[in-house]
């Protein structure tokens, strides 16, 4: 059945030199040093194109859309040469019965060897009826497909932390993948994740044949080890205290720091400010809008987005910690002042009391 990637490239008339070049490009993507190239080559020479299954649940499909924006390698090459994407509802030719067949064949023929990429959260409310495919619940499909998978990747914030459908009040019980399957899950959060990061995670898995190093939240350290803020090019403005005060004000036009516009860069782990989006074209901050923290768990409930701190529910409009704090502070001051006034009014009496007490005890 399957050909090794090297064989398939040979068939297409690529020379070994081309192949080596392709491997070193892939290796760079995977964050390897030059010396790792040999390893990549042997991995490619030996392996069949790995079978990959892409599941779709509660999603907006922007993760798929992001994936096809990848530029290195471009997605056409990845699809034809690097992996065998046997199931993805967004792009596959087969529908209905034939689509289910593709999925079942892959699970059967590549038991323990296929990779599952999951896009979307899984609703666990109402026995799973909020997402059904082919008459089956998302959860049952996930369990069946994940059971024999070599690796499970959770694409995007939906699959890694629930994303928008899990925002309060989470009407459908949307649940991230790692809470449902009994095996390690590589979380690639972001709404969506950056195309080239997605491609790099895939290449990392397929080229090195191993899981990338993950942090405590299951995210590849390679791309989620730093905050957007740590490598943001507007950082010098932050350190200098030069802030945008209102959209399109003088400071905005000078590209000052967006911290006061609610930028979540200081609390968000993602590769945006380094890898950037759409082949390095830009990233949210570069185009004038603060980071909304789209790769962080629960980021939808950390709003309003244009405030540095969240509002307190039940305290009226715009109640941030600071307004409440100011109220508490002022109330304390007022209380203290009132107390002082009362004390002074009754000063004589109070002092006398204290002394008389002492007399009595003496």
């Amino acid at each position: 059945m399957g050909l090794s990637i090297w064989q398939s490239m040979q068939q297409k008339g690529y020379s070994r030199r081309d192949f080596l070049q392709f491997c070193s490009a892939a290796a760079i993507v995977a964050g390897l040093k030059e010396t790792g190239v040999a390893q990549v080559v042997s991995a490619f020479e030996k392996k069949e194109k790995p079978a990959v299954v892409w599941l779709h649940f509660q999603e907006c499909t922007c993760c798929s859309e992001s994936f096809i924006r990848a530029s290195h390698p471009i997605v056409a090459d990845a699809l034809l040469d690097v992996l065998s994407l046997n199931y993805t509802e967004t792009l596959m030719a087969a529908s209905g019965f034939q689509a289910e067949k593709s999925l079942n064949d892959t699970i059967r023929d590549h038991k323990g060897k296929y990779i599952v990429l999951v896009e979307g959260a899984v609703p666990t409310g109402a026995d799973g009826v909020y997402c059904m495919i082919g008459g089956k619940t998302a959860e049952s499909i996930l369990q069946t497909v994940a059971a024999d998978a070599a690796a499970v990747v959770a694409w995007g914030s939906c699959a890694s932390n629930g994303c928008v459908q899990a925002a309060k009040p989470n009407p459908t019980g949307a649940t991230p993948i790692h809470k449902l399957v009994n095996k390690p899950v590589i979380n690639v959060p972001g709404c969506p994740p950056i195309a080239d990061v997605m491609m790099a995670v895939v290449t990392h898995l397929l080229v090195l044949g191993q899981l990338p190093a993950l942090d405590s939240l299951g995210r590849p350290k390679e791309f989620y080890g730093r905050r957007v803020h740590d490598t943001c090019y507007r950082r010098p403005n932050y350190d200098a205290g030069l802030f945008v005060e209102s959209f399109d004000d003088e400071n905005a036009r000078k590209g000052y720091c967006l911290y006061k516009m609610g930028c979540r860069g200081p609390v968000t782990y993602n590769a945006c400010s380094v890898v950037k989006w759409n082949e390095g074209t830009s990233y949210p901050i570069q185009s004038g809008h603060g980071c909304i923290g789209c790769s962080e768990e629960g980021f939808w409930d950390n709003g309003p987005f244009y405030q540095h701190l969240p509002s307190f529910p039940g305290f009226g409009i715009e109640s941030t910690a600071d307004t409440i704090g100011t109220v508490v502070g002022v109330a304390t001051l007022a209380g203290v002042a009132a107390h002082a006034v009362v004390t002074n009014v009754r000063k004589q009496k109070v002092i006398a009391e204290v002394h008389s007490e002492e007399h009595k005890e003496q």
């Binding site: 529908s95 008459g135 928008v164 715009e318």
Partner: protein
Amino acid sequence: MARVVVDPVTRIEGHLRIEAVVENGVITDAYSAGTMVRGLEKILIGRDPRDAWAITERVCGVCTGIHALASVRAVEDALGIAVPPTAELIRNIMTGVLNVQDHVVHFYHLHALDWVDIISALKADPKKAAELASSYSKWDKNTASYFSAVQDKIKAFAASGLGIFANGYWGHPAYKLPPEVNLIGVAHYLDALEWQKEIVKVHAVFGGKNPHPNYLVGGVPCSINTDEVSAINSERLNLVARLIAQADEFINEVYIPDLLTIASFYKDWANYGGGLKNYLAYGEYPTRGYGQPESFKYARGAVLNRDLSTVHPVNPRDTQEIKEYIAHSWYSYEGGDNTGLHPWAGETKLNYTGPKPPFETLAGYEKYSFLKTPRWKENPMEVGPLARIIVSYAAGHADVKELVGQTLGKLNVPVGALFSTLGRTAARGIDAQLAMTWLKEFFGQLMERVKIHEVSTFNGERWEPKSWPADAEGVGLAEAPRGALAHYIKIHNGKIDNYQLVVPTTWNGSPRDVKLQRSAFEESLIGTPVAKLEEPVEILRTIHSFDPCLACSVH
């Protein structure tokens, strides 16, 4: 009588199930079911209206940005915010780019495999393919060596298992293209995949990323400053100019020629899939502010019964015009499931009453979908590129009429051919061409404004919730790639009190209404022949011609 079930319907966005009743090889009844719901309308309640664009944008990553646009328009409408003209231009550019990119991806990656047989492409003569392609296009990649390289690629691919092309209906008698045209189609499938990631860089320039670029209530978030490296400056504008030029070439030298060539082999499909006779469009591309629909490039209005002589005015605020029903949807309404609600009074209470999964069929269930059923003055309406072209055509918009005439002329078919599966697919191409033309125009105007330093991109007068009335309601409309999109918002004390989305695919893909009138998907399948029950490619052709987006439709 047979019941054909297609679930999952693939090469669409989201989770769609079609059940069709076939008698004597022809579809006599059909059920369209959306089987995934997220409850976003409930999640929006209680949040800051200025955040709504980001949340609603996540309704869909395919028509990414258009919900954000509808949302900021709804909030601006509620609060009486006028957007600076420069910001309006940038928004138009964003929308144009989205339409162009989405249509190309739809044509090649979601729809083409219904018409193009990949396996047959392996038999093609690359030289002949090159001659054919060069006869109708100046695209410089259309060479014999290029086509033969693609053919080799596909051969190798076929030998190693077909991946995403496995188990397609290859060899089905409904495929009519000669091998050379199939080869051209496959080659351009790959080219389009590579190209589509380029044009969206325009979104990255103005909105920071794609999918899901940033929008802003009151304008756009990017500032323009040609004296500054970290703003929209001449380098950024040059990039946009180049991307637009590239897109122009791709649309006119690849997409449209391919569309016309392929369509010319499938003219019989001008007889199928017409479905409803009513068309609704909200209009798009404002040129003098969103408050003046008469200035839009695309007209707002409704055409009933395919009567092109009259464009009925559409008032989205009129509580008697647009209503959503749930008689056959998995929801319940306070006032009873047979009532219709105007979106300002809309309700979203989930109530699944279908079969317990796993199930074989939805037949026999009163309610069978998570889509609500929108109606305009009680009429089922088709929305989408076809609808907007028809409405603007009927409204006499010259540029639209001209291009429609040209396209029909090239295909040598009458105007009536538009009302079909083929017409819907052709209309999408026309829509892309118009968007491309206007995109260039808007970009030119943007450059003019930059020249005279009219570069304000944000109106902050009503930014602070303190400046808002205690109660406000607004509606934001847009022409999404798939058609008429409306967001309805009610604001109370600075927070969202109610938020309802009435989405293109909700119009097209909904279950029947309380009077049992079918919506567009269901109606369009009636009368379609199905040659092989187990390989119902015909169902896919018509359904795909709508470019369904189920995440949108249910939200």
